[in-house]
Assembly symmetry: C2
Homo-oligomer: 154 residues x 2
């Protein structure tokens, strides 16, 4: 493992993850009707920290491999979409637009996992929890969006 | 040029650029004191569209080259930071935090340009306008931040 390379990928995850601290759920999210299976708030930063370590490790394994160009393009796409979701959902409070971003993110993560897997199965495995979590996040975004009337954008 | 690869990188730029439509400058930005050299509003989407086409093209040239792993890691970092800036500045209206993101973005863009240049000088050249624009954006963020008392975060 090239740790400098890992650190750069982890920095890209940190940029994405910083949105969780900058755009806090706050009163608006607390008051929303949520499905019974909504994870408690403390689960989210723990899950994301774990996932970011996994995907940065996966990227550091795959990047130096020959033929990793599509894998790297999909990685860039998913990290940009990941950075986008929190400001749209918690910043703008636009649950429908958040759903669009999440569907795009899910596709990008699946494509990243698929291309990683063909190059290095361990890297592919390291993306699996991320895809599962984005699936849960998508189900949660959808449920919350359906359970609550969409507020006007700020 | 692999056009599918180009399209994936351009999609990552589109995710970053969509923040410009989602988090509009609006009344708050209009009322801020701005330096005399502030570009008119219409320049920003034109500049960003051009820059995104250039950097997606550069990435599609560099990604398939041997030894492009650092270049790809820096590309992922800069596109995540690029996605982050607009929501922080125009969404949260946090000019100081926006400055921190812009400084990090500048460093990431410079590192991306440097690593691209060693692999393919044309790709490096395609990043130069982006670095210049981020420098201008940084100077503008700094000036606006200094000229206006920081409002409370939302």
């Amino acid at each position: 493992m090239d740790w400098v390379l890992f650190a750069i990928f982890l920095a890209s995850c940190f940029a994405a993850g910083s949105t969780g601290a900058l755009f806090e759920p706050g009163e608006w999210y607390r008051r929303l009707s949520k499905p019974s299976w909504t994870p408690p708030n403390w689960v989210f930063p723990v899950a994301w920290t774990t996932l970011y370590l996994c995907i940065a490790g996966a990227a550091a394994r795959v990047a130096p491999l020959e033929g990793s160009h599509y894998a790297m393009a999909f990685f860039a796409l998913q990290i940009a979409l990941n950075t986008l979701w929190t400001p749209v959902f918690f910043g703008l409070k636009r649950m429908g637009a958040g759903m669009v971003v999440l569907v795009a993110l899910w596709i990008a993560v699946a494509a990243t996992m698929g291309t990683f897997w063909t190059l290095d199965w361990i890297a592919g495995m390291l993306f699996l929890p991320y895809l599962l979590w984005v699936t849960i996040a998508g189900a949660l975004n959808y449920s919350v969006w359906r359970l609550n009337p969409e507020p006007q954008p700020n």
